[in-house]
Symmetry: C2
Subunit: 343 residues, 2 copies
Amino acid sequence: MLFTACAESNQSDSETFAERVEYAIALHGGAGVISRDIDPEIKQQYVDSLAEALELGRSMLADGADALDVVEQVVRLLEDNPLYNAGRGAVMTNAETFELDASIMDGRNLAAGAVAGVTTVKNPITLARHVMENSRHVLFAGEGAERFADGAGVERVEQSWFYTERRHQQLIRARERDEVTLDHDDSAQSMNPYQAIDDNKYGTVGVAVLDRNGNLAAGTSTGGMTNKRFGRVGDSPIVGAGTYANNKSCAISSTGTGEEFIRHAVAFQICAIMEYTGASLNEAARIVIHDKLQPGDGGIIGVSHTGEIAMIFNSRGMFRGAADSNGRFEVAIWDENEAEASR
Amino acid sequence: MLFTACAESNQSDSETFAERVEYAIALHGGAGVISRDIDPEIKQQYVDSLAEALELGRSMLADGADALDVVEQVVRLLEDNPLYNAGRGAVMTNAETFELDASIMDGRNLAAGAVAGVTTVKNPITLARHVMENSRHVLFAGEGAERFADGAGVERVEQSWFYTERRHQQLIRARERDEVTLDHDDSAQSMNPYQAIDDNKYGTVGVAVLDRNGNLAAGTSTGGMTNKRFGRVGDSPIVGAGTYANNKSCAISSTGTGEEFIRHAVAFQICAIMEYTGASLNEAARIVIHDKLQPGDGGIIGVSHTGEIAMIFNSRGMFRGAADSNGRFEVAIWDENEAEASR
């Protein structure tokens, strides 16, 4: 229909121009088995914080900010919020420590930076950007990432900065489940109102952005898996799995069972399907999330070079939000809140 | 032509069956600016060792060995050979240490395992296989990979095992170049007959295999970049960049400037082009190596699900070999040795 209109008159061009998306942003705060019975107050905390992050990004984009700056600033806000499994509030390893991962990518030139297993950096997304902009490398892991941070001038914190009682309780429950059974004990009673979210939720926060100049960028940050083994690297710091951005196709951030997202190169694969088959972003994302992954693995948020937004997941919920220059502004957790966009 | 024959008679089916590839293997020992003026004796060492590794794989495949076993055993042979930048003979970091990376992938089920920055494991490819088979995870980095090795029962060595005087000299020259200029000093005279290979060669060894049961597997192992910074992770342990295998398309191992191979998800992208466009392995590999990467970045070896072999590079040379059930058996270093297969 757009094509027909263009072929008929130039006036149609200006009409469609008004509808064209000038900027767009999508973000997530993790996917998983998020119970619908969560405490209404806690639900509101998530809704409010997703809306706050979305509004920060939307307003920066409206003011003409660069896609990379928006990704970094919005991810930082989510990292600093203890509700999310990234930065402060990250989950604990089985050694009761915190190992944080992050990655960022610039769709203009495919420049990318990532860090895995950092332990003292307040905002891993900012360190990832330093790797991208100030080194020849893409990924630093562990002690090497810490040493890179020494020279990068990023804010450092003690491990206690990341600690929340909620995550400690989550680790204790995860250990108990590991010892007894790998199945989730749905009947367990708990005094912890976050338990309905935590026990089967994959953490991670991520942002994908199209700015007014047509540039795409994406970033992802996580504390990884509760009770993970020391040195395990998931998909979040893996460019192509957790994060990808290419101005020719789309910008993607993933959340879910990291190993599956690595095996399927999820973020890259969505961009590749768009590039090589001409599929829309939502079509490409559905192929990967619903046909390649298994139910429950997780999901993605993404923005295409035309401003199309996708928020696709195969888990029971995904904390997410989307906004664009045409006035769209919405946050959601479960499926029916946003049937059109999420499947 | 094959299609026409099949449509005409069943007899043609059995005729073409005789030509069908029952198994195939391709391997590499690194790509880069390999001078044509290398000492004939050293050239012969490379040719002989490539042929030895190729024959090990070919004979295992002829005997019906599993693709994964062939990949592991052939990579181990190359890791143990000090000629190659993997295992013994690995290049040195700028801290004069050795940090080894490896990955392996099973095309049957996309199972994958990888390790980054290991320091005491004699054969990192075997540790990668342990990660794949004996953990829920895909990638372990640094100290975490060492601890995983503690429980895996793999052979451990002192760092001195990896040391060769050749690699120490290479580090010293790399430091001198870094201090003076980033350009390669082509006029430098040296007493080291390997210098014409080392100064602009990306190490890494890799193997891709199709076995008699139609299963694909690939593996990659490296010491990384000479003079690399502590904790830098290249493409070799990144599933999707350095290694990929999917029985529906192909098995790939990469070698080159790791950062570029990550940004372009090279190994996965070749498989994705085959899957989504119907391109042949060589067509898909040429698109990625020649159209997406920059000249000099490196190359790949791969085997498709039909037994097609690709050895494509955009550097001045790539140590490589290929063999299959139809009697093909060849090793090569530069371009003209194998014009058809390498471009």
